[in-house]
Subunit: 304 residues, 4 copies
């Protein structure tokens, strides 16, 4: 049975739960939030939503013990109000650290033996911090990272070239934050490299994917739909051992840090990391992004 | 092509949009909100969510003209902050009236010739008010009404008897509000009338479905998942001409008012209203609920 | 992970496999057939079908060892050519017995610890024979039985009353064969008993559901779509522990035989059998059907 | 409403119908076959399959008039028994021509104004013959062509490199027959050109995709699952105006023949043909394949 825990029932966590329920992506869903009444309220709303479905998802609430047999835990706790006016995800560094410090021992104690997917920001730093805290095999912990930025970049390219997003391939890499970059060398539209298309404003497109979240955030004060679908896509790859490739926040042995790069996602988490041969300028951006994450991780570690 | 307009992109409207996008229930979705930046932000978030889907939904923003060829318009504008501390949906009477007054001429002008599904509260009153305002054939305008309360009642019965909600049938009727009632004479579990089960606390169960929304509302300040799925189920019945039966807020010729009762939903809206022979006590509750709606409609009409 | 084995890749078995692949109902599918080339060919065709899917199903071929961790095995081996000109499913008694005799020890040896769902005909007799052969707890073995006839009856009622099949409830019970019957006392349309509708030709409708397969069989020489969907529905109820109620061929302790009656299907197979209080004439038909199955089981046992 | 006609209810046509019904891809399905009893039998089997679905598809049988408002017609008539022992699809040239000669005037008379998707073989020749016969704007007629071979090539590459088929891109082009070729210059795995992977046996892989159907055909005597899914994918692109890119059998203005090459598929059929810059050897293969189709079209035209 596909068992998924979701810790943190803010907009992102509960939208992820709703997506799993309505699309039949999980058989048991364990909903966890420090606010017990909120968890119970979301549980009722999700239960109501099952009235017309052909699939069934068992819903449990605030039951850490049930995580023992879970395949995936999605960590979505966070405090979006900490994001700065400029949309800097590092604003959440302190609140996310506190949430991880609170949850990590409970997760450890539950006997959970599956794959942890972190959504909480700053995502790459959080993944590294989880890895420090839990000491598990690195492949068991990953973050949605630039998976979402990648969907945003593809959407922006699709709009520009008037094609379907499904026909655009390629990746955003590095930090799920300001230091990320679109690896244009990896972007293809119908197997034609994007460099073959005239009149592309690369800076504008990269900006759109990097800042896409903040365009939404400014008016809505959070984003939830894009991120929930990428989280569901990664979780589903674990649950069905699909061995699908995503740009995930995960361990890079060469950099000795977890950072957004290509990863094959399957039953045990990160199965392997496909090689991408990047041109020098993209390599440099990747290196700079890794340095940024290291610096931000040190900052997170410096807080008590 | 299945074309759906959603007017009002609060939690309910946009969750309905997200459900349609992720489940591939519409081919074109026209997102309309008086806050243009918000509409644009939700559009971007929903567009991001299409990055991993096998289906495709075209998204248009604030384009009333596009409603000309729409099959369904879902009206979800409202001001949840107007709901009283006790959870009385009539608190929205003024704000919903204003929203309808604002939207009705635009909808009329668009040339929209499809089916209007009202979610906004007070739902029954709103349906009646829409019918007054637009003067369309009655079958073209319906509300989700006690469809949601019905899902809640089934969920409550399912939990009590430890069965799957799909195996519970029966309906909540009347006002989507305090005067509604569970028509227990219509409730069956695996084709066995609920009266055959021992130890049922009917008042408690009816309370759960009637007040289910407020249990959620108290902690979350709105409900969106249950209502979005019932709205999608009704819209899908129109889009595929499924002729499925729901308890909808729609015209009751005997009562000369729109009120929640059984309706066959298909391409032209309400196809017909299947007869339910209710026992006297349930008939009396229905009559009382109709009177309540008439009274509340008069109240809505009395505001300028 | 949801792991399903399908043994017997004739039209029914492979259509069941295809449904699971295209709807994402299983994570691993183990395809087994005595004709290894055929199994390989179906495997390739199903693998090709995954080229455009958002879900992933791992396909294994003729790997009995893999059944050790399977949740469900669907047995669909049979020799449709043995069905008589009149469409008598007992024509398959000898061929199905041989197939079970062949497969049972392999299934036993595999260490399979899940739920066995028999589709092969004569279905009720086959379930009983499996139970004799394997000696497992009775709840682990069930057959699709009158589940399909129930769908056919509902379809026939829906067509007659011009309603959606989803709004018709009620069951066909007894043998998945000539002695079955529609339990009209259980049939409701929108919570109204069918007896309240005028002009129903019950004999004609019962005939349609009982003989529905043969109307198809006569021209097509097999039926596969209805049966594949009911098999998938039952398997999904096991995989998600949905505790949904179906009329299944399963053990009736009072009759000391497996026969089609209501059953709650969940992770361990038959969770319980909801009580249905039938009127005397329907009870008599059920008894007669049980006697028929006992007689036919004796016949199956009499063959070497 | 999404309305689809399927003409020819052999294994391929009816599997396509079943996929549309179970996945909710069409709202109305018009099933047409010269064998009226067979059409009725398939209709019943498909209707039975709707007993447990959350979606609804209206089924009509042998109703050419209903095609007047259809969005898509899928032509799947053919006589698989005419395929030679070596699996040559040209064996069907005579029978397919006769089927088109029979159906074309009826389709014309129906007033059908949508998009025709030909599955029948020899697919490219059939598309050209349809275009001659009907005289419609070229963009309204296309064939599944090398869409299926493309899925097969991707599957073969995925198996060889142990990756998910969804992460393999690239196309088979030319005739859906022996003269087709894999355009290796278009094949990428996770945005890395296949030429960067060591130890690839290109001839073997190309052979697998070209001859993939016959590996299945040899044992099963037909293939249906892969082809049904690609047909559904193309039909869905029309129905939702998805503007997705497939290698389709469609008009190539430079070659003055319909042949498998990239096409953007949307509401009006072929929206445009994205440019692929192929290396010389692949261009030569494309030219040779175009010549083959021209020759085979002349052959088809030479029969009475």
């Amino acid at each position: 049975m596909r068992t998924v825990g979701i810790i943190g029932l803010g907009h992102v966590g509960v939208t992820t739960a709703y997506t799993m329920v309505t699309k039949g992506l999980a058989d048991t869903l364990i909903l966890i939030d420090q606010d017990g009444e909120r968890a119970q309220a979301e549980h009722l709303d999700l239960a109501d939503a099952q009235g017309g479905l052909a699939t069934y998802t068992k819903l449990l609430v605030n039951d850490y013990d049930a995580l023992k047999t879970a395949d995936v835990v999605i960590f979505a706790a966070g405090d979006i109000s900490q994001v700065g006016a400029g949309g800097n995800r590092n604003g959440e560094t302190v609140s996310t650290k506190k949430a991880i410090d609170d949850v990590a021992p409970k997760l450890q104690a539950s006997g959970f033996a599956g794959v942890l997917i972190d959504i909480s920001n700053p995502c790459d730093v959080a993944v590294n911090y989880w890895q420090q805290k839990l000491g598990w095999a690195k492949h068991r912990i990953l973050g949605t990272g630039t998976g979402l930025d990648t969907y945003r970049m593809r959407r922006a390219v699709a709009e520009t070239l008037n094609v379907n997003v499904a026909d655009v391939r390629g990746y955003n890499l590095g930090e799920h934050g300001a230091s990320q970059f679109t690896a244009w060398s990896t972007v293809y539209v119908n197997s034609t490299p994007i460099s073959a298309f005239a009149g592309i404003d690369y800076d504008q497109l990269a900006e759109t994917s990097r800042e896409g979240g903040f365009a939404i955030f400014k008016s809505k004060h959070y984003t939830n739909y894009g991120i929930a679908t990428i989280a569901c896509d990664m979780a589903s790859a674990v649950l069905s051992d699909a061995r699908r490739v995503f740009p995930c926040a995960c361990w890079d042995d060469a950099q000795q840090i977890s950072i957004g790069h290509l990863a094959t996602v399957g039953a045990t988490g990160i199965i392997d990391n496909p090689t991408l041969v990047l041109p020098e300028d993209e390599q440099a951006k990747y290196q700079a992004s890794a340095d940024t994450i290291k610096h931000n991780l040190a900052t997170m570690n410096s807080f008590d």
